[in-house]
């Protein structure tokens, strides 16, 4: 390793009785790219907060630029060149790109008035440093997530960053955008700026990081060259248990066709989509962001009704023109964004479970039967193993994995014939993921038809009987799980996307 930029030594951090970090040490060299991996609750967010000065460690030292800190304030951390890019990017949607980039500097310099020419020059300089071209006078709210991220990066650079920490930066990016971002990161590294990249997506861990640090239960488990690690090893190091894929019991689909879609169209969404779903089958539909996968899911659930085509459920043609149509045909939908679309966060866990079937919980007077409701809630908390001391706590008190189970519980209580899952394990850690996959297979075995939309290849391989690939709004290929392997599917998935790398820049003119 070259010159050292940051070193943490024996960091210990407790919250009440919980040890969040236990004697963690590592160092980061100048221009080095490190990936920090761990399940929820492994201590990686705590670590970031300690490096950025938000938390003070109970024991241990932080050494930046040769200076020793046992206590560090956020301001000191920024002065030493640490910049954290959070998932919301800290941008103003109503202000222009130029102003967003320059505001920080204006505030720090204590300026009273704004010189707009300087603001534009400053912003241009920031974008030039990462070699991207985004129009300066467009409002940030009109830009794609990828562009907003790049703006956040250039803001960090302009704040004289020596270390940029990115928290799950690729969550909402298309494959091409991820590539562009990785190129920017590599570029920064070659300019001597170090990066810490926090990620859940294991395939990216190997792609970007020179070194991978894995935390589990507050302890550092692994610290080694990313190239020496394979995905299975990383999974094992993160969870402490082998996720055995050989013993998976897949449900066996029957001949009977449960659900059938013919020539479904939605302009600007998808074209001529036809497929069959058999009883006891888990059907995977994959495709990159922008392939029409999400639009198809929303169509089947009536949120963006298809413009033409036929849908047949149990040999009867049905019309799905609204969400009401979908639910009255007993089609359930677990959305991608569980927080925004799936749950009533301030409401109790039990109320969330009961939300979909509140009509069936009436007593003789037609009023809500509270006892029945609580019983229902407890039953599902138990069946899906939702970790909570009490069903009367708000849904917001649950961790990500448990919230996802709660969304599932809500729909399972509704007892759907068809359940459409869109990215059911996005942002869920490896351990909970395996449990959700198990549940999906079990549901299919019990007779529910399952359509699983995902771009997580291992997820598809662990749950599906058959996988359809979408590209530019069409189904272009079909894979049977038994006769496909992960690598092939991955290659197919990202194959043609490589032609259009520069398109993104054109879009927002």
């Amino acid at each position: 390793m070259e010159e050292e930029l940051l070193r943490v030594e024996g960091i210990l951090k407790r919250f009440g009785g919980v040890t969040a970090l236990d004697d963690v040490s590592f160092s980061i060299g100048k221009g080095e790219s490190v990936t920090l991996v761990g399940e929820n609750g492994s201590g990686k967010s705590t670590m970031i907060k300690i490096i950025s000065g938000i938390y003070t460690p109970d024991q241990g030292e932080i050494i930046i630029n040769g200076k020793h800190f046992s206590k560090m304030t956020p301001i000191q951390s920024i002065q030493e060149g640490v910049q954290v890019i959070y998932q919301d990017f800290s941008l103003f949607p109503n202000l222009t790109v130029a102003e967003n980039i320059a505001l920080n500097d204006l505030i720090i310099s204590g300026a009273k008035t704004v010189n707009w020419r300087e603001v534009r020059d400053f912003a241009r300089e920031g974008l030039d440093k990462i070699n991207v071209d985004i129009p300066l006078n467009v409002n940030v709210g009109e830009l794609s997530t990828a562009d907003r991220q790049l703006i956040a990066v250039s803001k960090a650079i302009l704040a004289e960053a020596k270390l940029i920490i990115m928290d799950e930066p690729t969550t909402a990016l298309t494959r091409n955008e991820v590539k562009a971002l990785f190129k920017v990161i590599k570029d920064l590294n070659s300019q001597g700026i170090s990066t810490i990249f926090v990620s859940h997506k294991l395939s990216e861990v190997r792609e970007i990081g020179e070194r991978t640090i894995i935390l589990r239960n507050g302890k550092k488990i692994t610290d080694q060259d990313a190239k020496e690690l394979d995905i299975a090893t990383i999974e094992y190091q993160m969870t402490g248990r082998h996720i055995d894929t050989s013993s998976i019991k897949y449900s066996k689909p029957k001949e009977e066709v449960l659900f059938k879609v013919e020539n479904l169209n939605l302009s600007h969404g998808f074209f001529d989509v036809s497929f069959e779903l058999h009883r006891n089958e888990v059907l995977g539909i994959t495709g990159l962001l922008g392939s029409g996968r999400t639009e198809l899911a929303l169509s089947l659930f009536g949120q963006k009704p298809a413009e033409s085509g036929t849908i047949i459920l149990e040999n009867k043609e049905i019309k799905i023109n609204s969400i009401f149509d979908a639910t009255s045909n007993r089609i359930g939908f677990v959305p991608e964004d569980r927080i925004k679309e799936g749950l009533f966060l301030p409401q109790t866990i039990t109320n969330n479970i009961a939300a979909k079937i509140i009509d069936t919980l009436r007593n003789k007077l037609g009023l809500l039967d509270q006892k029945k409701k609580v019983r229902l809630g407890d039953e599902w908390i138990d069946r899906l193993d939702i970790k909570t001391p009490n069903g009367q706590l708000p849904a917001s008190s649950l961790s990500g994995g448990n919230q996802q189970r709660l969304v599932l519980a809500k729909w399972l209580a509704f007892d759907p014939k068809i359940l459409i899952l869109n990215g059911p394990t996005v942002g869920v850690d490896v351990g909970s993921k395996a449990a959700i996959h198990e549940l999906i297979r079990q549901l299919a075995a019990d007779g529910m038809g399952i359509i699983l939309m995902s771009d997580d290849i291992p997820e598809l391989m662990h749950t599906c009987n058959r996988i359809l690939l979408m590209r530019r709004g069409r189904i272009v290929n079909e894979f049977l799980r038994e006769s496909t392997d992960e690598e092939d599917l991955n290659k197919e998935l990202i194959a043609d996307d490589d032609n259009g790398t520069s398109k993104r820049q054109v879009e927002h003119v």
Binding site: D88, S90, L91, F92, P93, N94, L95, E99, L103, N104, L106, I107, I108, A111, K112, T113, V114, W116, N137, T174, L266, S267, H268, G269, F270, F271, L289, G290, S291, G292, T294, E295, K304, R472, G473, R474, G500, K503
Partner: protein, 340 residues
């Protein structure tokens, strides 16, 4: 750059104003006289100042309805105080006292909002009622028509005079200068000062603004100081123009002013709004009012028409958004469609 102007909200209102003027003018040519223009400006001035008072609050992300009551208590309070002491001078002293009372009342709103972290609307609902009540009970309950010597001729203080066969002698009223001066100052303040940018930043994303280092409470106080000050000013101008000081001045007109501000392109949820747009918004409302008189459409229609235009205006961004959503996220579809 040119494309951006064409797409802007201000440009759209300007087009509507021109189109409407052409229609009204072709029905009643009297609309196209200089005198009629001056008269329109004079009627608009006070409402433009009131809209200026409200604009920063709206950009900040709040809806205030108490500014009309602040205008009433400041102007009526000042007048009754000065008349009681036999004051015979000009408006300058009215402005000084009126603006001070207004500013203090505005600061009170700001103080309650920042101290107790309350919603702007809730607080203003209370202070509106409070200030009208205070004025009626403690200061006086009837309109006062006594004018000091120095204020009597104010309604006809013209910069330029014209004689018109229908309207008689009229002209460009001196209050136009106030509007221009305040407008330029407010434009500069919002666009070129860090506090002004802070108002937009807070309206755009409050949490990020706080994290970035904007001092939310200080900026909020300044916004309400401006609101109170300009409301007091507008109250004095309006009362002097109409030659009577009224304890229930502007009562019930707060939402009309808000409508003009929104017509001018300000977003009710904050973060958006311009001085030019606000001026155009008020002028458009005033033209509609006039148009209905000149074309002899019953006056009751005025509010209806303003309402319809307001719906159209608030719908435009929503429609754009819907279109964008309908276009979906599927990339490269243009080619895909061409291939098909």
């Amino acid at each position: 750059m040119f494309k951006r102007i064409l797409k802007s909200n201000e440009f759209l209102i300007l087009i509507i104003i021109i189109a409407l003027s052409l229609v009204v003018g072709s029905i009643n040519p009297n609309f196209f006289t200089i005198a009629s223009l001056f008269d329109l400006i004079r009627a608009s001035n006070v409402y433009i100042i009131l809209a200026f008072a409200l604009l920063p609050v709206v950009i900040l992300g709040g809806v205030d309805i108490s500014f009309v009551a602040i205008a009433a208590v400041s102007s009526y309070g000042t007048h009754m105080f000065l008349i009681g002491r036999g004051y015979e001078g000009g408006l300058l002293l009215y402005f000084i006292i009126g603006c001070t009372i207004g500013a203090l009342a505005g600061l009170l709103n700001g103080l309650i909002i920042t101290k107790f972290k309350l919603e702007v609307f809730d607080v203003s609902l209370a202070t509106q009622t409070m200030w009208y009540g205070f004025t009626l009970f403690f200061i006086g309950a009837t309109s006062n028509f006594d004018m000091p010597e120095g204020v009597v001729g104010y309604y006809s203080a013209f910069i330029a005079k014209v004689t018109d066969e229908n309207l008689g002698v009229t002209g460009l009223h001196v209050s136009t200068i106030y509007v221009i001066v305040i407008g330029i100052f407010l434009w500069w303040f919002l666009k070129y000062t860090m506090i002004g940018r802070g108002i937009y930043a807070i309206g755009g994303n409050r949490d990020v603004a706080e994290r970035t280092g904007f001092r939310i409470n200080k900026i909020t106080m300044i916004v309400f100081l401006i609101m109170g000050l300009l409301s007091g000013f507008a109250g004095v101008v309006q009362s002097a123009l109409s030659r009577n000081f009224n304890p229930t001045l502007f009562i019930g007109q707060n939402l009309d002013v808000l409508a003009s501000v929104i017509l001018g392109g300000a977003a009710i949820k904050g973060g958006k709004g311009t001085v030019i747009g606000t001026v155009l918004g008020v002028i458009l409302t005033q033209i509609i009012r006039r148009a209905l008189v000149l074309t002899q459409i019953p006056a009751e229609w005025q509010k209806f028409v303003v309402g319809v235009i307001l719906i159209v205006f608030t719908a435009i961004p929503a429609i754009r958004e819907l279109r964008r959503k309908k276009l979906g996220r599927t990339t490269n579809l243009v080619e895909a469609t061409e291939e098909a």
